[in-house]
């Protein structure tokens, strides 16, 4: 791979009538493997108008979610070798289903609105904690593993067809993962209110177990499993 060809989605609503794909070629004489984000930073040196978000460059901040060769992922932790080639190129598009602000920068408002709905913070009526600190057994703490690690990159929700069609009503995998993170927390006392808020035909039950979210999560999390747990909690309460 001495020359790598990229095809990147470009759209500047102020100037362009319609989005287009632009080709870029990156010289890579030593045939080095690198992260997609590093390659894109080099392309940005060629063409400073190419816009995308990034910050930590190590899979922690969740800024650089892109659709890389048809699959959502973080540019900074996806090696070119793992991304592979699609028709001899690396095709990069914005996260699907979200409004484009410019090039690969998407408007995440809908995503955050859904996140906000699940009250992603600890609610405690003050009866539980002993003076001083909240105590949690190692078993209770272990229930939060696989839930708290989410970095809100939106790779999952923007790959979920149910979220594409109803982003205003369906919470989406990321929001629901957080909902379950607080439902499962032994220190949280708002379980009933949380379940009441989720108990309708859309918020949770629009998930049909398609599992796109699991396939793309760069942190290896399993939103479908968390959603299944919420469904069981709602079900047990109703039966």
């Amino acid at each position: 791979m001495n020359k790598i060809v990229f095809s990147i989605y470009r759209y500047n609503p102020d100037v362009d009538k319609a989005p287009r794909m632009q080709e870029y070629t990156l010289d890579n004489p030593e045939g080095r493997d690198m992260m997609v984000l590093d390659a894109m930073l080099k392309l940005k040196e060629q063409d400073p108008t190419l816009s995308f978000r990034r910050s930590c460059r190590e899979g922690v901040c969740g800024s650089d979610g892109f659709n890389i060769n048809g699959k959502n992922g973080l540019g900074c932790i996806t090696p070119l070798s793992a991304a592979g080639l699609k028709g001899g190129k690396i095709v990069i598009r914005p996260l699907p289903g979200l409004p484009v602000i410019r090039d690969l920068v998407v408007d995440m408002s809908q995503f955050y609105t859904q996140y906000e709905k699940v009250k992603p913070y600890l609610i405690n009526d003050g009866k539980l904690p002993p003076a001083g600190e909240f105590l949690q057994s190692p078993e209770e703490r272990a229930k939060l593993d696989g839930l708290y690690e989410c970095i809100l990159c939106a790779c999952c929700s923007s790959s979920c067809p149910s979220f594409w069609w109803n982003p205003d009503k369906f919470i989406g995998p990321a929001g629901l993962l957080h909902a379950y993170r607080f439902l499962a927390d032994s220190r949280d006392t708002a379980t009933e209110e949380r379940l009441n808020d989720l108990d309708d035909a859309f918020s949770v039950f629009r998930c049909h177990g398609i599992m796109n979210c699991v396939a793309v999560c760069p942190k290896g999390l399993n939103p479908t499993k968390a959603i299944g747990k919420i469904k069981s909690m709602l079900l047990n309460r109703a039966l």
């Binding site: 069609w165 039950f205 629009r206 049909h208 709602l234 079900l235």
Partner: protein
Amino acid sequence: MVLNQASLKRDGVQDYVSLRTSAIVLSLYTLFILGFFLVTPVVTFEIWQALFANIFMKVFTLLALLSIAVHTRIGLWQVLTDYVKSASTRAVLQFFLYALAFGYVAVGLFVLWGA
């Protein structure tokens, strides 16, 4: 369950349970009919009629017909709310598709208990 399913407002938990129970009934019915064809060497009109003369078979078939109605109603509502964003178009489509589903159940009833 059936009465709840006839109401306009959807209930997530109720739909989830109804969708799955009706799916189980329909799978069992399909397996049963398949099994019947497998174990019966020649299916004549008399054998077929005798099968449906059995009260167990009638109840089972009725259950399967109602399950089809419930299953299609919920399923269609989910698909239509995904893909048809205009409420009025959706209402019209829903009316026709539900009427069609109801028609199937009605025809089934007449076949079961008709002449």
